[in-house]
Structure formats: C-alpha cells, structure tokens
C-alpha cells in the first residue's frame, strides 16, 4: 500500500516517526507551514522556519525514503499579531520555490478582521502564482467559519478545484462538498475526526475530492493515522483500488495542479550516505 499524507507537520515529529511511516507505506508528505507552539514575534523566525521546510525537513524525510513537499503561508493564528504580518511581504520569494506545492495553511482561527485581510492577500498570491490553496477551518465556531471560508474563496475567484478545505467533520463536509472544493479530514486520536467516522463519511459522500491526513502536530496526534484509516476502509469493504485513490491518487491530483510535485526519486528508500550541510541524522544527528 502506498500512502501520501497531504497534511502533516513533520517539524514536530521524530526520526522514529519517519521510520514507522515508511514501514506503514507512507512515501510522500506535504508539510504545511503553520505555527510552532511558541508564538513567533519576528519575520526572521518565519523565514528560518520556511527555509527549514524547504531544506532540512525534505532532507530528513529523504533519508527515510519519503518525498517531502511543503505549503507556505502566514497562518491565521499569527496573522493576528502585527509583528508577524510583514511575513506576507516575503511570501512571493517562497511561493516561487520548486518544492512549494500550495499556499497554506491560511484561513480562519478566530475570524477577526486581521485574519480576513491575511486570507484575502494570500488568495490573491495563490492566483498570481497559479498555486492551489490549503485552507484551515477553525476549531471554534467551525460551521460558521467553514461557510465563510467557502464564500471568501468563491468571491476571490479561485477555481474551487484549486482549494482544499481541511479539518472537516460531519457538520461541515456538506458545505464544502457543494462548493466544489476538495475536502480534507485530519484523523486524530481524540479530537477532530476518527478512522471509523471517516469511513462513514466516505460511505455517505463518496471518494471524489476526498483527502485524508494525520496532521500530526504538537498536540496528541499520530502520524500513522492515514494507514489506520486505510485499514479501516479495507475492513469496511472498500477495495484496494479505492483505498489507493483516497490515499495516493487524490493527493497527487490535488497538489499536482501546482505542476511542481516531484515523485520520481521515490526509491531506493533510506539513504544512509546522505549528508545535509555535513550532518547525517541517521548517524545520530551529530
């Protein structure tokens, strides 16, 4: 089984996770730019982070046989801090990079006017750079936030097939299904969405424009949730080809719209000889 995790924050995971993911069938990931737990206060700490998503993290992933791409954006939470908003001015430099396959995560956290402005500017950048957009939906007041997201995307004139609206649940999936946007589901151990609930949603809404991710971030999360959902699909009677569609072909189709997805060098897998600026993490991260 081959798995493409379309939304996973590898920055917060260990090399053991990479190893376990490879063993479970994960061969490609997209890591969206998001917050880092500790709030950032300068543009410089964002650019270091973006450089890490384009440099160190793909290198680390490659050593475990996994292709790593990223999405770049100012996340909605930090868009509320005036010290961080200037990041928007440096985004074009990053959106031009080969391994950036979308603008994201953008969207709403508290639905403030600052978030509105950051979202509007980033949707404009997505149009300008012809990139797909990964949109985060808020934890709080989610149904309202999801409706507003879909409206804003429509008004911005972005083709719906270029937009992935993520972190959906039973009550927000219909809004996005009707909009023509792609539907993302983050499978978590306790919150957001579980494997069994995901299988019920796939039964009800079908498998077109459906993406399943583990998100795996700083909270209680599990980078193998994609595989566990695939297993739950098989156990429920979905065939292997449908599982492959949801877990591989769908994310390839969505991010492939960037024209920048590079999945050629998938094999031979773990490369023990690779060095990144003189460092080998397989050697123990000296």
């Amino acid at each position: 089984m081959r798995i493409f995790d379309p939304h996973i924050h590898m920055t917060s995971r260990t090399t053991d996770d990479y190893e376990a993911m490879y063993a479970a069938g994960v061969r490609a990931v997209v890591e969206p730019a998001f917050w880092l737990g500790q709030p950032r206060t300068t543009v410089g700490s964002f650019t270091d982070y973006f450089n890490s998503l384009l440099g160190w993290e793909p290198f680390r992933a490659a050593q475990f046989g996994i292709q790593h791409h990223c999405t770049i954006a100012l996340n909605p939470k930090e868009a509320n801090d005036p010290r961080c908003v200037e990041v928007l001015d440096v985004l074009p430099r990053y959106l031009a990079k080969d391994r950036v396959v979308a603008v994201g995560e953008t969207g709403y956290d508290s639905m403030t006017k600052e978030e509105d402005e950051a979202l509007a500017r980033q949707l404009e950048l997505a149009r300008e750079y012809a990139l797909p957009v990964l949109v985060h939906t808020p934890h709080r007041d989610k149904a309202t936030g999801t409706r507003r997201t879909v409206d804003v995307v429509r008004e911005a004139g972005i083709p719906p097939e270029h937009v992935l609206v993520d972190h959906l649940n039973e009550l927000t999936v219909a809004t996005v299904a009707d909009s023509g946007c792609w539907m993302g589901f983050s499978i978590y151990p306790k919150t957001k969405m579980s494997e069994d609930r995901m299988v019920r949603i796939l039964r009800e809404y079908g498998t077109d424009r459906m993406l399943v991710d583990s998100a795996a971030d700083w909270g209680s999360s599990d980078p193998l949730k994609t595989r566990k959902t695939a297993d739950a699909m098989l156990a429920d009677g979905f065939d292997a080809d449908t599982v492959d569609k949801v877990m591989w072909r769908n994310p390839v189709a969505f991010y492939g719209q960037s024209g920048r997805l590079d999945l050629d060098e998938l094999e031979p897998g773990p490369d023990a000889a690779a060095l990144y600026e003189g460092n080998s993490i397989r050697r123990g991260g000296e």
Binding site: G37, P39, T41, K77, E78, N80, D81, D109, S110, M111, T112, H139, R140, D141, K142, A143, T144, N169, E170, L171, M193, S194, R197, R200, W218, G219
Partner: protein, 222 residues
C-alpha cells in the same frame, strides 16, 4: 497584603528591599521579576510579582511599555503573573494586546490567567466569546472566566450549541458547564440541529444526543 501569610521572613525582607529598589530605579525589575518565585516561593510568586509591578515608578503609557516588555521576555510563570496583575495596574486598555497574545497561545495556564477581571472589563464581546469557546476546547472550567454571567449572550449560546452539536455528531461528550449558558435559549438546540440527532441512523450519535439533551434539561431546570 495577603501574600505575606505564605512568605518566610527572608522572603518578606527580599520583597521589601526589592520593591524599594524598583521604586527608585524601575530597571531593577528586569532581574527581580524572574527571580521573585525563587525568593518568595511558588505559592506567593504571583502576588510577589504583582507587588514588584506596583512598585514601578511609572504610569500610563511608559508603565504599559514596561509591562509589555516583561510579558514578552517572560517565561510562562512570569507571563501568568503579569496577566493576573493587570487589573491592579494603572494601564487602562493598553495591555489588551497581551491578553490577545495569551488567548492565542494553547498554554492553559496563560489562557486561564487571561480570562480574569481585566478581560471582563476591556475585551470586546467578539473576542470574549472566542475566549470562552477556547476555554471549552482546552478543558478550562468556565467558572474561571470573570464576568461570564454578565456578558453571556444569545450569540455565545449559539456558538456553544453549534459546538455541542459537533460533539454529538462525533458521538462525543459535551462538557457539562456549557449548558447553564444555553439554558435561556432552548430554541437553539433545535435550530442548530442537535435535537434532530436523536433520529440519527448512527447509534453513537443518537446516544450522545440523548445524553446532551438530558444534561441540558438538568441545567435548565436548576
């Protein structure tokens, strides 16, 4: 002040000497503020730090600038002490950016300290409702939110019933302390679709809906 009950004579002496030093030169607070917990003990740390802030020979804008710097350079325990001291200081609404920063964090100690009396007085209603929801998500008890009874409104109840419906649709529990805030608006349960979940084809959803409606009835009858 109350903190003297928890402090050793050495701690009291340190605090008296340090507040006098800060009163004559405000810059002394930069090293005293982080050290206060070691000198005065964990239980008295917030109160001791409040005394240090009150000793600053500053008011208004310069005081706000100093308090902001202490918050931004502070570790979590210092940040919490700043948030708790806000209602005591002559700041007006100038410390609101710190409250917003704390509410964006996911550290429960900071979020809880940020929903005190200062927020009750200065935070706008939209941000206040978001703060209440954030507490629900972070399992912070809602009785920690200052001024909740006075500021709770129909829109907050609407957000909470939407949240409750989301939890029920996931077959999950709804925290009990949201129901008293919804009790005055029973029609919202039907409007948000929660009542309809009792007919869901999914057994987990039906069961969660029944439990939620029972908890609502208990709160509404209380």
């Amino acid at each position: 002040m109350a903190e003297h009950r928890h402090m050793t004579p050495e701690a009291r002496a340190w605090l008296d000497e340090t507040t006098a030093r800060i009163a004559s030169d405000g810059r002394a607070i930069h090293t005293a503020f982080p050290a206060a917990r070691r000198h005065c003990g964990r239980a008295a740390a917030d109160d001791a730090r409040a005394r240090l802030l009150l000793a600053l020979p500053l008011r208004g804008e310069p005081l706000a600038a100093e308090v902001t710097a202490l918050y931004r350079d502070g570790d979590v325990s210092e940040q919490r002490a700043v948030l708790r001291a806000l209602p005591l200081l002559d700041l007006g609404d100038r410390a609101l950016p710190l409250v917003h920063e704390a509410l964006r964090s996911n550290d429960t100690a900071l979020v809880e300290a940020a929903v005190g009396p200062y927020s009750a007085r200065y935070l706008d209603l939209e941000a206040f409702r978001q703060a209440v929801l954030k507490c629900v998500f972070l399992d912070i008890r809602l009785d920690r939110v200052s001024g909740l009874g006075a500021r709770a409104d129909r829109e907050l109840a609407r957000m909470l019933t939407d949240f409750a419906h989301e939890r029920v649709a996931a077959g999950r529990e709804v925290p009990a302390d949201v129901w008293p805030l919804v009790a005055g608006f029973p029609e919202l349960l039907r409007e948000c679709g929660l009542t309809g979940e009792t007919d869901s084809p999914v057994p987990e959803r039906r069961a969660a809906a029944a439990r939620a409606l029972e908890a609502f009835q208990n709160a509404a009858g209380a």
